[in-house]
């Protein structure tokens, strides 16, 4: 790489992981800048992972005040709400994350994510957002795509004991390891808007039910003007009605979205800490891959449901540009 060597301190601290991904990857990590939004359990896990891994800087956006719910799956904050008074979620998390690894700059950006202009995102290599409305996901994704440099974009959500990751690396080139050396590979990712616009009937036959269920919930919250996760069991009839409508519009048999799954998602707006750890771990690995250019990146959705225990990758791309 471009010359700069790891310091003795870095080599000692990162010894075990350099043995996994190499010194080059470690150098790239230390020059990367990450933005996250939505300081709940899953993002907290993710932040821990990449701060430990030794990224260059991490910027947190979340102006919310501390609530009992926010504390439920978050190990970065003391449980005493009084001790947190006057500080935002992001500020409290920053203080803890700074201790994890003094070599990583952790800072807070105040304001509403949706109000940040395109140029704001230019400072980052990776943008990860969580607990955002459908409109915000699309908006931030489009802003990242408008930049001349490639900004990797991720959304992540955990509900009940389920989790979903979406990845947009735009046009991504990397060296794929093969039996006989490496070959240059290029992956073309769809935007979030493009991915979720893929007609349900043209999806892979056994597509994860979680993909469809999450779209129903996302749509419901958007239509009702709810904040992400602002949903409860009383909403179930309306959610089931929406599911029926969507399935009819997409000519998909309703059995592809089990009511029991929707019920779980509606009831479990609160995160389940083991799933946060799993999803935050997978997301951490993916971001490290994307920064270091090592390893096959995930394209473009990942789902985990602790009921069946499977962690599945789904490629949901617009079929048209193919071929």
């Amino acid at each position: 790489m471009d010359g700069e060597e790891l310091t003795e301190q870095e080599t000692a601290l990162y010894d075990r992981q350099i043995r996994v991904w190499g010194a080059d990857a470690q150098r790239r990590l230390s020059k990367s800048h990450i933005l996250v939004h939505g300081m709940k359990g899953t993002i907290t896990e993710f932040c821990k992972n990449i701060v430990l891994a030794g990224v260059g800087s991490l910027t947190l956006v979340d102006d919310r005040a501390v609530t009992e719910e926010a504390l439920s799956a978050n190990f970065l904050m003391p449980p005493d709400e009084n001790a947190c008074s006057g500080k935002t979620l992001a500020e409290l998390c920053r203080d803890s994350l700074n201790e994890f690894n003094p070599m990583v700059r952790v800072s807070v950006e105040k304001g509403d994510l949706a109000s940040f202009g395109v140029e704001f995102f230019d400072k980052f290599d990776v943008v990860v957002i969580s607990f955002c409305s459908l409109a915000t996901k699309k908006l931030i994704n489009e802003r990242c795509r408008k930049l001349s440099k490639r900004v990797s974009f991720y959304t992540v959500d955990c509900r009940d004991c389920c989790g979903e990751i979406f990845v947009d690396l735009q046009k991504y080139n990397y060296a794929k390891k093969r039996q006989d050396g490496t070959t240059e590979c290029e992956l073309q990712y769809p935007s979030f808007q493009e991915a979720i616009s893929v007609p349900w009937r043209s999806l892979p036959r056994k597509v994860s039910k979680l993909y469809l269920a999450m779209r129903v919930i996302e749509r419901f919250e958007e239509d009702e003007g709810r904040k992400p996760g602002e949903i409860c069991i009383e909403d179930l009839p309306a959610v089931l009605k929406l599911k029926k409508e969507l399935c009819e519009a997409q000519s998909l048999n309703e059995s592809h979205i089990p009511n029991a799954l929707l019920e779980r998602l509606v009831m479990g707006a609160r995160e389940f800490p083991p799933v946060c750890a799993i999803i935050g771990g997978i997301l951490g690995q993916e971001v490290i891959k994307a920064i270091s250019g090592k390893g096959d990146p995930l394209k473009n959705f990942f789902f985990f449901d602790s009921v069946d225990g499977k962690g599945i990758i789904e490629d949901i791309s617009d079929p048209r540009p193919k071929g």
Partner: protein, 657 residues
Amino acid sequence: MASLQHSQAIKGAKVLMVGAGGIGCELLKTLALSGFQDIHIIDMDTIEVSNLNRQFLFRQSHVGQSKAKVARDAVLRFRPHISITPYHANAKDSNFNVDFFKQFNVVLNGLDNLDARRHVNRLCLAAEVPLVESGTTGFLGQVTVQVKGKTECYECQPKPAPKTYPVCTITSTPSKFVHCIVWAKELLFAKLFGDKNQVNDLNVRSNDAFSSSENTNDVFEWRDDEDFEHYGRRIYDHVFGYNIELALSDEETWKKRNKPRPIYVRDVLPDQMTQQNGNVDITDDLSSASAMASLGLKNPQDIWCLMENTRVFLEALKLFFTNRKKEIGNLSFDKDDQLAVEFVTAAANIRAASFNIPSHSLFEAKGIAGNIVHAVATTNAIVAGLIVIEAIKVLKKDNDCYREKLMRMTYCLEHPSKKMLLMPVEPFEPNKSCFVCSSQTPLSLEINTHRSKLRDFVEKIVKAKLGMNSPLIMCGSALLYEVGDDLEEDMIANYTANLEKVLSELPSPVIGGKMLTVEDLQQEFTCNIYIKHREEFDEEKEPDGMVLSGWTQALPEKKDDKTSIGNGASTSKSLPTEPMDAQKDIEVKEISDGTASPGKKRKLPEFSEGCTLDQSNEADETRNDKKIQKLDDDDDDDDLVMLDHWGKDTSKKQRLQ
């Protein structure tokens, strides 16, 4: 599901965690967040700098402190009202007995070595407490549930034997860098700095005509008034020059091999150049002595040229004699001993240069010599999440858990298989012939009862093979041997005397046809061993001079022609793991799925035919290197995949049924 059904089971549960390292930190955090209120945690280790990249509960200021205690304090900061009981102790200590284990609803392992895993497995079986076992290496991981009588136990499948290399490969015909490392560490380093009474093959050569002279050993002695510089050069010329010349004279060896090149110090380093660095500061801080530092070499990732290796070799040797004279004679290689790593790296590289093997950096050499485990935070976090999910299911206690096969074994993969990065499979049924968890079928031991001493039996079978900690050995009703704190002195004397007797001459003679009962009181584990007398053993294939059967151990990867040398100091601490196990398993399960054996012991519903394994390519590329590093691990701060070679043994297993 997340909240209501779980909460009762979680709040009322008392759980034991064994290990507060990479998996342990993540696990303790996730348990606390998930609502567990009574957690006990055992770990004998203290915190090291190389832990801090993933053991996130620890800070620089904690280095040297107890992992269990610091982890507890860190978690209480965000969950102050739960109870966490730390034990800064070895899980094998006698106070952690079956009664201790019985107080827990579930035991969660985050361990790094086979010995401790075996021990905890037995205690959980004896106490009838469910065990969630786990391990990680790099991006690979595994979590599995073990319940007595319902699933396999940790020892139902044999674990691979530690990797060893034939002596002649190490002493005469190295072809890989690891051979040079083993030579530098096990032979040269041991010869110069270790116990002088240890048998050492450093001067053994394939041609016997040259190894007869007695005085070759004296070469390695430092002569009282000898200048250390001179001594270093003499050793250098002997091992890299003279010994190679001798080896070359045996032309038979080199007919089909590339000839090595003798290297003499005068050709690499003219006299003046070493004199420049002749002044060594003798510091009080002995551990900080470093040849790299005094030579101005900074980056451990750099690959040194022959001249640099030569200077490091001479400098390190000199530093040992000037700064650490008292330790000489008692040293064994330690990956955390900077000077030892420098010496071994330089020596291995010089030898590699002789044999035209590519050089390696100190960083790489340290990894190979120290069997350092690859570890990242993310895999540990994922595995910890999976452990908690399994633990909660076990705690729900409705038998549905077993009937509906809700329990799972989950693999974390580096490359997706059937679109999965996290792949659940059904846990396997107990192995009916497992000597640990099944109703006891006796083992049988072929041994020369007129030649083997009781001590040999205790060391090679009871400790090394059966993994017992405090054994008690009986022949019929006669007590032959026992370990314990409360023994009478005359008993101790009696047992000590027995150790030195051959089996057939014991007070109650152990001869062919007798049955021995071996018991570990702490593990509450008993084995019966049927003795068969046998006169002769093949020194190469049966180096123990005894053969235990009914107890199956996987064969080492390579069968070689000579006795062997491992890459590590102790064989009892052997490591059951290599990173590709998960993948091997998968391959095999595909096969077993197809043949659908009647017992369906290894049914793997997730895998059907035609599943291609992307990961096998990369696995093959790196297999050799990685394998070495996985074996006989000395790194006690880590978190290994504890897997086994289930795959390999599927056929054997079916035969056993």
